[in-house]
Amino acid sequence: MKNKKVLILSIVLATLFSGTLFCVHLFAQPATLYWGSKGSDVIKLQTRLKDWGYFKGPVDGVFGAATSRAVKNFQRKHGLTPDGVVGPATWRALGISAFSRGSNYTPSRGVSNRDEITLLARVINAEAGAEPYEGKVAVGAVILNRVESPSFPNTLAGVIYQPGAFESVSNGTINKPPSKESLRAAQDAMNGWDPVYGALYFWNPGKPVNKWIWSRKIIQRIGDHVFAR
């Protein structure tokens, strides 16, 4: 009897296991969003709702009360169930469908640096999430100082994605949505606030670093990071 149970269990397990093995790849669908969701899809949603006049709050990537109200209003206007949940139908009504995630809706004359701020905020969040505010702005400033420096790539993406430049980029943690404080720090840095006066490097002295880094001119220490030029 016991044997049988073990046997059935092992067969079930084997099938399950093989089943997952041969499952090819999952299709990316825009996630269903609801109260409490966070991240880039929420930013996309808020931007679209703001463009169309349903949403007045900050585009912060956090699905809260104001976003929920805006979604319900939108759903009512479009004959959808006003449940405040953004599923496939609501996405479609918003003009963002499953297979065109980067759907190219752009205002007629559009340059926006909001996405750049979000990108910067992600690095700040991943590199200095536990640091004081001043240390967060400082990390943002270092990245922007690199863009201006001849020894580094000349674009924000070039600097951020330079191989080996930032640990959080190498290990993928920059893909986590940034906190409000990181977003604010990115904005301050973009607007020119620089608490480290032109520093090009920062590192955590408690972690192993390349000897070469200590040959740089140290500007100051903030929290767990040393900043240098």
């Binding site: 067969i11 296991f17 093989s18 463009d51 505010y133 001849p150 020894s151 070039g158 080996g164 604010r184």
Partner: protein
């Protein structure tokens, strides 16, 4: 009983077999997948590397041609092409998996050559000669580009023979040593070390070496003590007569401007923290940051500007004119320029960040002002506003005009007429040099969701 156990046994063996086969197949596909990814990455790196080498080779050739050419117009074209090649080389270098210290000087060299070529390409071939010192710089850069090209060709030769692959450089180094080969990164490191011995390059562009060594012009007054700095900082954070913050510690900051950094905690025990930098010489506030999340908008941009105006005046920062405002979320950032005898001095820049929920000042940045502010001997414009107007595209409907001083890329300054106007529904700002009537710059005002932005 026995039969059952035999059947059980058989089935178990079968199941186990399935598992083994399944796992094996899975492992094999995973391995293949990893190999494909590695190959893909390797190919991308190879492409960037090969492209970069040919771009550096092109640079060497173009520099040689520009030295040999006698026609200013031909030279102009060669410089434009040189700028493009250098830019591409620098771009490709930035995507290669090499450590920063192995390529820093090389990257700088590529950027500087491109930048220098751009500065030369900008010259009007009919009016502006290439100077003797620029000729000397070209010859110098040509030698350096030649060195770089030859060294890169050495690495490329190995790569072509398949002796080198890109990968985890550290893991490969000992293995490579055994095989008597050097990795790509070691080659780059050697080049960079050699290039560090090249002389610095000073020319008319933002990547010139002299930009690094500028000293602040706006630090007037006597040296202050840490206690004085603390009091000044507190005064900049004060709102009415009850303090929102109390200073907790003071530290030194060595930067472009040596300063005391004063840290503040909320006076009430809860609330935002703040940081204020006060310059050691003269006790000027260089930077102020309040770490607060603003909730909601009750103040308009206009009201925020009034708040910022009052704040600057009450702190003795007078003759500042708001030039440009931006709403971001629940904050407004307002830029000010100094005004001397009716002329706007853009390099003397101050930025103020205002919370739109209660009108408090959340940020101040006077670094630009302190670096460049001094009493200027402004020249008399050599051309009238009416003459300058004629240099503007006639299709632009001009609505505002004024005299201003704008910064050049190289920290120099130029006296210009500023014209603001509309064309095809877009707003533009055009700067015409007040001395010779040439168009210096065109900015486009971009209306974003957050307010205007200039580019």
């Amino acid at each position: 009983m026995r039969e059952i156990s035999r059947r059980t046994w058989l089935l178990t063996v079968l199941t186990a077999g399935l598992l083994v086969v399944g796992t094996g197949y899975w492992g094999y596909t995973q391995h293949q997948y990893k190999q494909r990814l590695l190959t893909y990455l390797n190919n991308r790196n190879q492409k960037a590397f090969f492209e970069m080498v040919s771009q550096v080779e092109n640079m060497e050739v173009l520099l040689a041609k520009s030295i040999a050419s006698g026609s200013p117009h031909q030279r102009s074209l060669l410089f434009s092409n040189l700028w493009m090649q250098a830019n591409g080389a620098q771009n490709n270098l930035g995507t290669l998996p090499l450590a920063h210290f192995q390529v820093a000087r090389t990257a700088k060299f590529l950027n500087q050559v491109g930048d220098f070529a751009y500065a030369l390409a900008k010259k009007d071939p009919d009016k502006q000669q290439i100077t003797a010192s620029e000729e000397r710089k070209l010859a110098q850069l040509h030698r350096e580009a030649g060195y770089l090209a030859v060294e890169l060709q050495r690495i490329r030769a190995k790569a072509v023979e398949g002796l080198l692959t890109w990968g985890e450089v550290e893991n490969q180094a000992p293995k490579l040593k055994k095989a008597g080969l050097t990795g790509i990164s070691a080659g780059f490191e050697k080049i960079d070390g050699q290039m560090q011995k090249f002389p610095t390059l000073i020319y008319d562009g933002p990547f010139s070496d002299h930009i690094e060594q500028k000293a602040p012009k706006g630090l007037t007054g006597a040296v202050v003590s840490a206690t004085e700095a603390k009091n000044i900082a507190a005064q900049y954070l004060a709102k009415g007569n009850k303090p929102l913050f109390r200073p907790v510690r003071v530290r030194s900051v060595t930067g472009k401007i040596p300063a005391y950094r004063v840290y503040f905690d909320p006076a009430a025990g809860t609330g935002p923290n703040a940081v204020v930098d006060v310059s050691k010489k003269g006790g000027h506030v260089v930077m102020l940051m309040v770490n607060r999340d603003t909730g909601g908008k009750t103040f308009s941009l206009r009201q925020a500007e009034n708040k910022a105006d009052g704040y600057l005046k009450s702190r003795g920062l007078i003759d500042m004119v708001p030039t440009y405002s931006l709403v971001q979320g629940n904050n407004a950032v307002i830029s000010y320029a100094y005004r001397q005898k009716g002329v706007l001095i853009y390099p003397d820049l101050i930025k103020v960040k205002v919370a739109l929920d209660n009108g408090d000042i959340l940020g101040l940045d006077t670094l630009g002002f302190l670096m460049s502010h001094h009493k200027r001997n402004l020249p008399q414009p050599k051309i009238s506003q009416a003459e300058a107007r004629r240099a503007v595209n006639p299709n632009l409907k001009i609505r505002e005009a004024r005299l201003a001083v704008i910064p050049t890329d190289t920290l120099g300054e130029k006296l210009v007429y500023e014209f603001k106007g509309k064309l095809n529904g877009d707003t533009f700002i055009v700067y015409i040099n007040a001395m010779d009537g040439t168009e210096e710059k065109v900015l486009k005002v971009i209306e974003t969701k957050d307010g205007p932005m200039t580019m």
